[in-house]
């Protein structure tokens, strides 16, 4: 009601408030410029040098540095544009040979600032989402808090160093178009995103089914017309990206760079996904059987090292290869795809896309822990929908952020990552509490399952305020306490009690413990998708 009466004023206040949020986060990002950065920093610097000093047909062939170009062409073009400015700032930065491992202040400043500026795309994505959303003011603010102030993005982009904010901004834009009903535009931006980073392709089946059903399934003639338009758009995007490389006859080379299946099932630090349990089960079984006297050979290959011939890293359980993981991801996606086909609703697009990335994260091949951002950020759009959603999001985003902790292993950054997580948790706690007490009566419709609670609420809402509408339950509380125990063990007790023995245990504990919550969250999301009408 209020929204309609003064849309103009509301719009400007929305923009200025969003800019305020973004401004605060930019201040923090600027302060974090001298913090630790990983080898990804050098990777991106090397890409600047490659795209600046080599002709296009050499980009995917060059081997001067071990950090070869392994992102799709749009990202290479993007680096090419950046390198144009980089050349003005410091020519040595874009020199292929002399620039190797060049870490002068100018390079750090330029690269960090480039990430900060690219976050404007994320800002635009969030702005689009909040502009045309049927959500109230509070839900909108909540989304800004969860996305613009996301601790995961700060850790990965502004400390560890990557351009996820920019890429996720494109994803958010695409989702906002889908939710508006402008399917073609949404599909177009998703195609562009795929040509920036191919890891986002996990959601392609969702997009494919959704667009086919919601956009193209409109009778024979109209449908055929639409399918050809959509096809033409996608082909045009891919031609713009890969055309030059097809022309030079390098497609084989580009693809082999982009999909290095020579890497192992898990990354050096195991991402908290399904395969952690698989590996643990294998180890446990082998251990028990060995105790029982069964002769089991110790596997020579490692999970992280890659596929070496026929030798399997598993002692008992069957070997896992990229095809297995691919099929498992598709299988996990399957119920969701059926649901989309049956009932393609624009409002659920964000949840479906997030679910797809969750499947990819849990069952994919050589998954990085950073990939958890791909589903935590889109899920923020629906986090304020219901109390249950909020509760699950609360735990999931804490766990996802916590699983990023091993990325920053130096003492200098320790307080920063802890404070970021604490701040995020408290902000979520406060805003969810504010969201689900005051106007809880209004959302009685949304969460119809909670009728018993809601009835009590209508009678005495002040009592409810006292108790706090938002809580995570005793299981959630125990789980969070366990997280604290895992952290204290890994950081303080383990080095103190065991010294240098079993150095992998703290990381392993984090992986397993976080995987529990992410698996649980995945099951809940699946259920939520299946029961929703």
């Amino acid at each position: 009601m209020e929204d309609q009466r003064k849309p103009e004023k509301d719009k400007t206040s929305t923009t200025s408030n969003l800019l305020w949020f973004f401004g605060i986060s930019t201040c923090v990002k600027l302060l974090l410029i001298p913090s630790y950065h990983s080898t990804d920093f050098e990777v991106h610097r090397n890409w600047l040098a490659i795209t600046r000093s080599l002709p296009l047909d050499q980009w995917y062939i060059d081997k001067t540095s071990p950090w070869t170009l392994d992102y799709p062409p749009f990202f290479a073009y993007f680096e090419c544009i950046l390198s144009f400015f980089a050349h003005f700032v410091d020519p040595k930065m874009v020199d292929l040979e002399k620039g190797l491992n060049y870490k002068a202040e100018s390079v750090v400043l330029f690269q960090r600032l480039s990430v900060i500026v690219c976050d404007l795309v994320l800002l635009y994505g969030v702005y689009r989402l909040s502009k045309n959303f049927s959500m109230g003011f509070k839900e909108r603010v909540l989304m800004w808090v969860l996305v613009v102030w996301s601790p995961g993005l700060v850790i990965v982009d502004h400390m560890h160093f990557q351009y996820n904010g920019f890429l996720l901004g494109l994803l958010m834009m695409s989702i906002s178009y889908l939710m508006e009903g402008r399917d073609l535009m949404g599909g177009f931006i998703f195609a562009v995103l795929l040509c920036f980073k191919h890891l986002f392709a996990v959601a392609a089946p969702v997009y494919f089914v959704y667009l086919l059903r919601h956009y193209c399934w409109k009778g024979f003639v109209k449908g055929f017309g639409r399918i050809s338009v959509l096809g033409a758009v996608v082909v045009a995007v891919f031609t713009a990206a890969y055309g030059p490389f097809v022309y030079h006859g390098q497609m084989q080379q580009v693809i082999s760079r982009m999909f290095p299946f020579g890497r192992g099932l898990c990354h050096a630090y195991w991402a908290p996904n399904f395969w952690v349990f698989y590996i643990i089960l294998d180890k446990g079984l082998a251990f028990i059987l060995r105790k029982l006297g069964v002769d089991i050979p110790v596997p020579t290959a490692s999970f992280t090292g890659g596929l070496v011939g026929d030798s399997s890293p598993f002692a008992i359980l069957p070997q896992v290869n990229p095809l297995t993981t691919f099929i498992m991801v598709l299988l996990a996606l399957f119920p969701c795809l059926i649901k989309i086909w049956k009932n393609p609703q624009p409002q659920s697009a964000a949840r479906w896309i997030a679910y797809a990335y969750m499947c990819g994260f849990l069952f994919g091949w050589h998954v990085h822990e950073k990939a958890s951002l791909h589903f935590v950020i889109p899920l923020a759009i629906v986090a304020g929908n219901s109390l249950e959603d909020a509760r699950h999001y609360f735990l999931l985003s804490i766990v996802s952020c916590y699983s990023l902790f091993p990325l920053l292993y130096e003492a200098q950054e320790y307080p920063i990552k802890v404070l970021l997580l604490l701040l995020h948790s408290f902000l979520m706690w406060h805003s969810f509490s504010a969201l689900f007490t005051k106007d809880a009566t209004a959302r009685a419709v949304v969460s119809a399952k909670k009728t018993d609670r809601q009835v009590g609420l209508k009678g005495s809402s002040s009592d409810f305020v006292e108790k706090g509408g938002f809580h995570v339950g005793w299981i959630g509380r125990c789980y969070l306490f366990g997280l604290l125990v895992v952290e204290i063990w890994g950081q303080f007790l383990h080095p103190y009690l065991l010294g240098d023995k079993l150095p992998f245990v703290p990381l392993l504990l984090i992986s397993i413990y976080c995987a529990l919550e992410i698996m649980y969250s995945w099951i809940w999301q699946l259920r939520q998708i299946m029961v929703s009408t």
């Binding site: 929204d3 305020w20 302060l31 003011f137 404070l419 805003s431 504010a434 969201l435």
Partner: protein, 532 residues
């Protein structure tokens, strides 16, 4: 008047609850503790992030900077007996960053030095550790500041906010309270000096704030508890000993306590008690140096380095700013300058002190703190750029009282006056980030409301603010981009300092006027009450 306004506001807000344009409505519904927790975590995050940056005198032998000074004091205090700390011996070369702060600072150095010695003995070993700069050493030093900030300044602020806003179930708007906390805790100048430049101002400011709150608390109840003042004044005096700098607040404390003593049944006795308490506290802290005249005066001469001249670097105070026109250093001897500056300072803080003696009140006391520290900053002898932190603390405490525009401009002026210093420390990036952050703080919904509330003539104020912004932007750009002409190497510093000085002088006049208006309001309010 105040109550009526709130009553009008409340129902309006409830109807608007769904469309209320206040973003902070989501975060600050859990009372003062909840808001304080949230803001203090953010404040800590800013502090830790600033501490990633460079510090004063990083990698610049042979003298280095304040970082090395603090480290050297830890080296001296942990390795030498207490009586040698202030004296020049074979083991203690006073020309190399000799201790020149009062004993309580030395005790703090000793305490932190013990911690450093435990974790990294090399960083405080006698002689060999000079110019010790390692990654781990820097980290430890940074963490000592961080922990003292967390353990002293933050609780003091919490105490203040509780007293000021009347407990967890305060009647005021929750987001206003939160904004007030944020203005005090996220003070960009304090963060930059302590966690960037490297000093322990948080300790002295926190120790000032604690007793100030005690005074505030008792002054409301002073008619009920006749003797409550004495232990409080003990606190009050202890801060005077932490830093000579904290003498900036002494007139306010003296005025307020003296004024309230006079209102008791037996004034001479009360004053005597107060005096005894002050002397007693002094004696305890200075105990190690009281056994002989020489030792005592030795320490005193270390604390008051009068031979250094009326100003050293460029400071936005009277002497430095007017030195463009009048060459104070050439015209007068140091001795006569000392006298002139003493007279000028006294004349400036006298009005506010007299006001407090005549009509002691809690708000008046805060204004008194602000005015007396302003007086010292503007007119006293040998002022550092960092001394601006002292007037800034009461100014942030009064943020709900002062008009929003004024307190914002004051903050930005203080920041600008430290810009040359921070440039030398290579802290330009955190400076810019925190500059933006403090503007955003005043543009936050409650801040915006606050600015609008006290706006008598919006157009004029707006144009003044715009002129200020344009000028500071030009100064920043000039200072960073253009080399000064060779004839006047400090031309830009002088320009910046004059700009800031003109603002600060205006503020001083304004706050003094406010303080005197306060007593008029107070008396007229009393009369009205009596009539009721």
């Amino acid at each position: 008047m105040e109550k009526v306004r709130k009553k009008v506001q409340k129902p309006k807000r409830e109807t608007e609850s769904n469309n209320h344009n206040d973003v902070s409505c989501l975060f600050f519904q859990k009372g003062i503790m909840g808001s304080f927790l949230l803001i203090s975590i953010f404040g800590l995050l800013l502090r830790v992030s600033v501490s990633l940056h460079s510090y004063s005198g990083a990698g610049s032998p042979p003298k280095f900077g304040d970082f090395e000074a603090q480290r050297h004091w830890m080296e001296i205090t942990t390795n030498l007996p207490i009586k040698d700390w202030y004296s020049n011996t074979t083991n203690n070369d006073l020309s190399y960053w000799g201790l020149d702060y009062p004993p309580l600072t030395a005790y703090q150095s000793y305490f932190h030095g013990r911690i450093l010695k435990y974790f990294d003995p090399n960083s405080v070993s006698l002689f060999t550790s000079r110019g010790h700069e390692t990654h781990f050493g820097k980290l430890l030093m940074r963490w000592t500041v961080l922990s003292s900030d967390l353990l002293i300044f933050f609780p003091a602020v919490l105490y203040f906010v509780f007293v000021y806003h009347g407990g967890n179930r305060s009647s005021g708007d929750k987001s206003d309270v939160a904004w007030h906390i944020a203005v005090i805790l996220i003070n960009p100048c304090l963060i930059l000096i302590d966690h960037g430049h490297f000093q322990y101002n948080c300790i002295s400011l926190g120790l000032t704030l604690g007793p100030s709150v005690s005074v505030l608390k008792t002054s409301d109840l002073s008619s009920l508890i006749p003797y409550a003042h004495i232990p409080k004044s003990l606190n009050a005096v202890s801060i005077l000993i932490v830093r000579m700098m904290s003498a900036y607040y002494a007139p306010a404390f003296f005025g307020h306590l003296f004024g309230s003593c006079l209102r008791r049944k037996n004034p001479p006795l009360e004053v005597l008690k107060l005096g005894l308490a002050v002397i007693g506290t002094f004696a305890i802290v200075w105990w190690p140096y009281l056994h002989s005249r020489d030792a005592f005066f030795g320490v005193l001469s270390r604390l008051a380095p009068f031979e250094r001249g009326i100003y050293e670097d460029y400071v936005a105070n009277f002497w430095c700013s007017t030195s463009i026109l009048i060459k104070w250093k050439r015209l007068f001897t140091t001795h006569s300058l000392r006298f002139v500056s003493l007279v000028a300072t006294t004349l400036t803080f006298l009005p506010s002190m007299i006001q407090q003696i005549l009509a002691p009140s809690s708000k008046g006391f805060l204004y008194g703190l602000l005015n007396s520290s302003f007086a010292f900053y503007l007119f006293s002898f040998q002022v550092h750029e960092k001394s601006i932190l002292l007037p800034l603390l009461p100014a942030t405490l009064l943020a709900m009282e002062l008009p929003g525009v004024h307190s914002m401009l004051l903050m930005l002026c203080a920041l600008l006056s430290m810009f040359p210093l921070l440039c030398r420390d290579k802290l330009v990036v955190p400076y810019m980030a925190l500059y933006a952050c403090s503007i955003l703080l005043y543009l936050a919904p409650s801040g915006r409301r606050h600015i609008k509330k006290h706006l008598p003539r919006p157009m004029i104020t707006f144009s003044i603010v715009m002129i200020h912004f344009v000028c500071s932007l030009i100064f920043h750009i000039i200072y960073l981009a253009i080399c000064p002409p060779k004839k006047f190497p400090y031309l830009f510093e002088a320009m910046i300092m004059n700009f800031c000085f003109s603002h600060l002088l205006g503020f001083t006049v304004y706050t003094n006027a406010k303080q005197w208006m306060l007593s008029r309001q107070f008396t007229s309010g009393d009369k009205e009450k009596k009539r009721d």
